[in-house]
Symmetry: C2
Subunit: 400 residues, 2 copies
């Protein structure tokens, strides 16, 4: 693996497809009809830009795996993905004949029109943006259409060695990108600009080092994303801020984020930073947040319910008398999607298993002052957890 | 408008809401329940990062506009959007009580549980990623849930003066970004790196010039996106390529793209370029593509069916004997979403009206050689069309 491309191997994709087929047999489904880009990528390694143009991958219990999609993806699939054996194209959307009618014709020719079909999109044809169209259920009266999301998503819960390898590589470069970001943080700078600059510098280093081993799979200006995303000063009190209305000032609390897509997988690394000398109030929130993250990290263990990690974090916050500063649960699974099940949430009964990967990111938010959140990506091991992101967490290390 | 922030004014959002309410009255719906981030942004100016956490905006026929969503968006909404008068939060997803049950409780308290409700997401609660949950229809037995996408989307078809203003500002910076990209194109460079570098330089200039007037509304590393997206040499023959496996070489055909988000709106500017002296075959495809784009542009006119523009382009390609090189229709509407109705497609009966904005991007693709596509953003006027993107189109101007 070390000398080859940083993507999931074809052998692993074949094994994923075999597992899906085993489940199709068990549930007596003739085929799995997938429309979600993440699930298609997980099953086959094929990545595409999802638009209003419907596209579906069909994995029959037996026989050729095929895709139905717009003409503009045909050469792309043929070049990139040998596992997809046939491609049935329609000219474009909306077309004189609606694309989903083409799909129905293909499914009929394939003998699937009267079968039990599992799908991840029961009620449509999986086009985004301005897509409109009838549902598959309305068109395939003889078929039995059932929810098949879990045929893929249960496989995604525990990460394979290859997946962990890609996440670790992602983390190494996220750490590098974060170092570069830190060098560029200074009063008077705008976080959007230093984030973009640091992303460019980190991508330059990464591509120089990895060369042809690296290939970006997901659509986006840059596979390296590092910055503050508007979480600057009082803006950091809004966990999902987008853009800062002002430049960085001395005394600001910043919440950073760094992620790098490697083979479709992206880790999550976030840090609370302080520009200049921290004041007592900021120090108190920072130290509490760190204590809460430590408490949560201490609870990661095979056999522990996900809800338990959140409960321990919450208890630690309450003991500090800061329950009013909570805005969200402790974290989420992570892999190809930025957020994946299972959730570190009071409502999540899933029990942790070795190979599950989570973000651990308890946050404290004080409107008008700042937000305080670190996020680390961690993996459950046989007897505890291991950091995938390895980065300083102390106030001293994160004061610039 | 000139000295204020480059976003849609609150007055215009109020007028959009009034139009939505007029339609609610006409269709005897008590409320519109919106979950799509673009539609929420269009109606209110509020932009958020859509995740697995469900979020819905409710515009009742009369009374307070309210939002139901995760706790972590509450401060965000209060700070950013005065039009949203109330926010009903749930702790997080999945929660001990599923968020959509919170939604149902709020709708019940608001007296809407037995009403006719229009929605853009009949079958769910609008969470992405790993979201799972019952549909609104299954929970609100007494309500009549109807498709309400068009209550917003028909308004979006014709752009207002403010929208055109933002698209023009977007185009000015996309042109600037493309200039910078061109300066950086050279054999030996990787398109991902020069794209990211040019995006950084263009954003720096834009923020310096626009200062506090500029605010990025949509989540993303950079509101300026310029580059080739893997459309380098033979890679340009794949319209939706993602990443180039190799560096730029002398003789390569490149297809570029440039877009800048201003107030939520992004124009589309794409150019076919040649590195070094074009060979006769490339020249033939380039000149044909240009002739086809000219033919299509000549057809933009109020009263003309959208399908007609595509037909004229296709006829021009066929006359050149290159019909086999087509992979997609001529273009699409554009605004807040990168692709919006109406489509310049054989199946689109919509008739062009002044104020509609389209991409015009006929493309010719030759597997193994290259792709040839310019994209311009144009607006329908009283008696024809006007370019929103104003950029050189000739082979001479685009040879580096």
């Amino acid at each position: 693996m070390v000398s080859s491309e940083l993507v999931i191997s074809q052998a692993e994709h074949k094994s994923r497809i075999e597992k899906i087929r085993d489940q199709l047999k068990k549930s007596r489904c003739a085929a799995l009809y997938l429309t979600n880009p993440t699930r298609i990528l997980y099953a086959t390694g094929f990545s595409h830009i999802s638009t209003e143009r419907p596209l579906a991958l069909v994995i029959p219990q037996e026989g050729a795996i095929f895709m139905m999609g717009p003409h503009l993806e045909e050469d792309h699939v043929k070049q990139d993905c040998a596992l997809i054996e046939e491609f049935f194209s329609y000219p474009d959307y909306p077309g004189i004949t609606h694309p989903i009618l083409h799909f129905v014709n293909v499914l009929t020719r394939k003998g699937l029109a009267g079968s039990k079909i599992a799908t991840d999109y029961v009620d449509g044809a999986a086009g985004g943006w301005g897509y409109r169209g009838p549902s598959l259920r309305d068109l395939l009266h003889q078929a039995m259409i059932v929810d098949g999301k879990d045929l893929v998503d249960t496989l995604r819960l525990v990460k394979s060695r290859q997946e962990i390898h890609l996440l670790r590589e992602s983390a190494r470069w996220a750490e590098k990108a974060h170092d570069i970001l830190m060098e560029n943080i200074a009063p008077g700078e705008h976080d959007a600009l230093i984030g973009l600059k640091a992303s460019y510098k980190a991508l330059t280093e990464m591509m120089k080092k990895l060369g042809a081993r690296y290939r970006q799979l997901k659509w986006g200006l840059s596979p390296v994303v590092v910055g503050c995303r508007g979480q600057v000063g009082p803006g950091s009190a809004v966990p999902h801020a987008v853009f800062s209305k002002r430049r960085i000032r001395r005394g600001d609390v910043l919440v950073t984020e760094a992620g790098v897509e490697v083979g479709g997988y992206t880790c999550e690394l976030e840090r609370t930073m302080i520009v200049g000398k921290p004041r007592p109030r900021e120090k108190k929130y920072f130290e509490t947040m760190l204590r809460v993250q430590d408490a949560a990290l201490g609870a990661f263990m095979p056999g522990v319910a996900c809800s338990q990690v959140d409960a321990i974090a919450r208890k630690t916050v309450e003991a500090a008398g800061l329950a009013g500063a909570l805005r969200h649960h402790v974290g989420h699974g992570i892999g190809i999607d930025g957020h994946e099940p299972p959730w570190l949430d009071p409502g999540e009964k899933t029990v942790m298993r070795p190979g599950m990967v989570f973000s651990c990111e308890p946050g404290l938010y004080v409107p008008g002052l700042a937000g305080f959140r670190h996020s680390d990506t961690v993996m459950i091991t046989k007897d505890g957890m291991e950091f995938i992101t390895e980065y300083p967490r102390s106030l001293e290390d994160l004061t610039v």
